[in-house]
Symmetry: C2
Subunit: 408 residues, 2 copies
């Protein structure tokens, strides 16, 4: 493959038209949309109109007239289409961490007598930390096992298995249907963190018979920094699921101001506080854009980009100590690729200085994301050439690239 | 008093200059800023710059270069000045409901062996609902007592007393120092919900020796619809307080990606998920404006406005069935005034149709807020005259004013 081949792939790409829908800085090769998605062109004008008109002019009336009160469900229904769920199975609320707490606690309430929560070692830190906190409060037991021991760790005492579908570092993708089946075989529930899945891979929650899911709005959904998160509860569980975070927005009639909590009979029972209207509007702009694209085409192009990157790095950057992390089979991956390198942090900084933005993950991982709506095949080609030059000239080996920032 | 007197009060008002700092619709008398504060003029340009430059141009780098990662503490420190706390005792995070859950759970951990949480009947619904949810999960007991029985309900089994400082409906204000003292006398902790206090009344958390507090960003702080909330943990408790919502942002080193949770040694331990950057920026605009005003002058003017409203309603609207709710002593009130009326809902709608925006609270309360930065004495005069006309003509008694909206 050469640069011309990459250009030819881009010319034939049915998703090519989406790149101009983002406000990307000229000349930047942005391979970190799996951490913070870029700005859709619709977002700034929408927010400005919301702030100046709906908030500024119409004030409190907008809770009714502008549909603010229904935004968590309306935006949730849009996410549902991306993750393979029904419209009434997803709401937007809180953060991924808070939603994980709610649903994991709900799972314990659905499996009384079972007190074990199983997850894998190396799961995204906040997932493990939140499950730790819940286990301590609820008197449950958190079992954290090596990836390969996961399925055999599930037993008749297990209430919940909580996994991140696509691993934040390695990019490894669980077989959602197979693992959910194994979880159900033991009578437990399966909760999937879709933070690196939603908007990247074709949705499969209901096809996989998943019970519960959470996910992030600021990665492949392009909802903006700290965008609100979402959660999924399969319709069959909604009647019985209880949220311990039983705030007023989860009440059957929030404005009846009843003296005791009476949960909404549907997915709204998982809401808690007042919905974050500005952030919901920004997220909705990202979603409306994502929904114009075909999910299977997105996944297919993403795989092709990842494959191209792996092949080119291994062919053109050989001998510089880069080692692919995670499976080689593209069908077992999400849409980011990680290489381990002893000086990964400095390497990533040197690339950023040359306009190729990836990120570093402790302890030694350089990570690159390939969101198909705006990353082109020529970007992959150019990124690898710049990486090769950085490696061959040891351009990363300078003091200014070693200094760790607060957020890595 | 007549309208000239009101004009004279406004002419002498040291806070009068603040009104122009808000983008208020012409001719509207907005007495609902205790539900949703109006738009500061700085907010829309700030959000636009944040979205287009910090997110759009600088992308992921802004977590470091634009100070995104420190925003919860930076904005929290600004709120601290309004509520009488130290800069390191407040952070912005999540919703009021979620923060209440975190701090109430933390209080249980600070008082091992005590399992009772005491609150008052008629507290804001979400406060009671959230405490219910926590009690069920943590095996604690929620004791909900009539207001007058509150102090005697506190005993040696009580871990926490959770109260809203200014009652959402009646406007009644607890004596924070006296109640906190009574709580401490039994060895329990005091948690204050400052949703109707912050930005309205002079801050007194440390003066009252309060332990914990939460509050809302979208009322008197003018942070926008669904703005993020804040929480306060007195410095003396920070080392030992544990949050059950132990997400990665509460970790001592969030980006070290350690395998287990290790809480931050300070107020950051109460953070959970990724901070909502857009909403934090909007909230900060409201705070920067509030911080220009003197807190004692704000409270003093607010009392004067409330007193004027009560006096005028009772003098000019007598005989129409309005009954003041809550104490008459202005020193025992916050900055909103509620009147009970058998047709309060329709009455409020008829007023809104005439450009006087208050709100209705179940079952029979018409509520009017008097945030001193933009409400004038002439607004109070005019509002009462319009109310009088609506009552005298029974203008509220029309079908279109009876139909309840989803959000009341």
């Amino acid at each position: 493959m050469n640069r011309r081949d990459a250009e030819a792939l881009d010319a034939a790409d049915p998703l090519a038209r989406f790149r101009d829908r983002f406000d990307l800085p000229d000349g930047l090769i942005y391979l970190d949309g799996n951490s913070l998605g870029p700005l859709p062109r619709t977002t700034a004008p929408r927010l400005d109109a919301l702030v100046r008109q709906e908030w500024g002019r119409d004030l409190i009336a907008s809770w009714n007239t502008a549909g603010w009160i229904d935004a968590p469900q309306r935006v949730g229904a849009k996410i549902a289409r991306l993750v393979g769920a029904k419209a009434n199975e997803v709401v937007v609320a809180d953060s991924t961490s808070v939603n994980l707490f709610k649903l994991a606690a709900g799972a314990l309430s659905l499996r009384p007598g079972r007190r074990k929560i199983v997850t894998e070692r190396g799961n995204f830190p906040t997932d493990i930390y939140v499950l730790e906190g819940l286990a301590a409060l609820a008197g449950a037991e958190l079992v954290v096992v090596p990836t390969d021991d996961l399925v055999e760790a599930i037993d008749e005492q297990t209430a919940l298995v909580a996994l991140t579908h696509v691993h934040y570092a390695s990019g490894r993708r669980w077989d959602m249907a197979a693992v959910t089946g194994a979880v159900h075989a033991k009578g437990a529930l399966a909760l999937w963190d879709l933070s690196h899945t939603a908007g990247a891979l074709a949705g499969e929650l209901n096809a996989a018979n998943a019970d519960l899911a959470v996910g992030c709005g600021y990665k492949h959904l392009n909802g903006g920094p700290g965008a609100p998160a979402f959660l999924f509860v399969a319709e069959r569980h909604q009647g019985a699921m209880r949220s311990p975070l039983s705030g007023w927005m989860g009440h059957a009639e929030p404005f009846a101001f009843e003296p005791g909590f009476r949960p909404a009979p549907d997915i709204r029972a998982q809401l808690c506080g007042t919905p974050p209207i500005l952030a919901l509007a920004a997220l909705e702009c990202g979603l409306d854009l994502a929904l114009e694209a075909d999910g299977r085409a997105v996944e297919a192009k993403g795989r092709a980009l990842c494959g191209q990157f792996i092949d080119l790095v291994e062919a053109r950057c050989a001998g510089h100590g880069l080692k692919l992390v995670g499976p080689r089979d593209l069908g077992q991956r999400g849409l980011h690729v990680a290489f381990a390198h002893p000086d990964a942090y400095a390497l990533v900084q040197a690339l950023i200085a040359r306009g190729v933005v990836g990120d570093f993950r402790d302890p030694d991982i350089a990570r690159f994301g390939f969101p198909p709506l705006y990353v082109r095949h020529v970007d992959v080609w150019d990124a690898v050439e710049i990486l090769r030059e950085v490696l061959e000239t040891r351009a990363w080996d300078r003091p200014q690239f070693q200094q760790r920032a607060a957020v890595t």
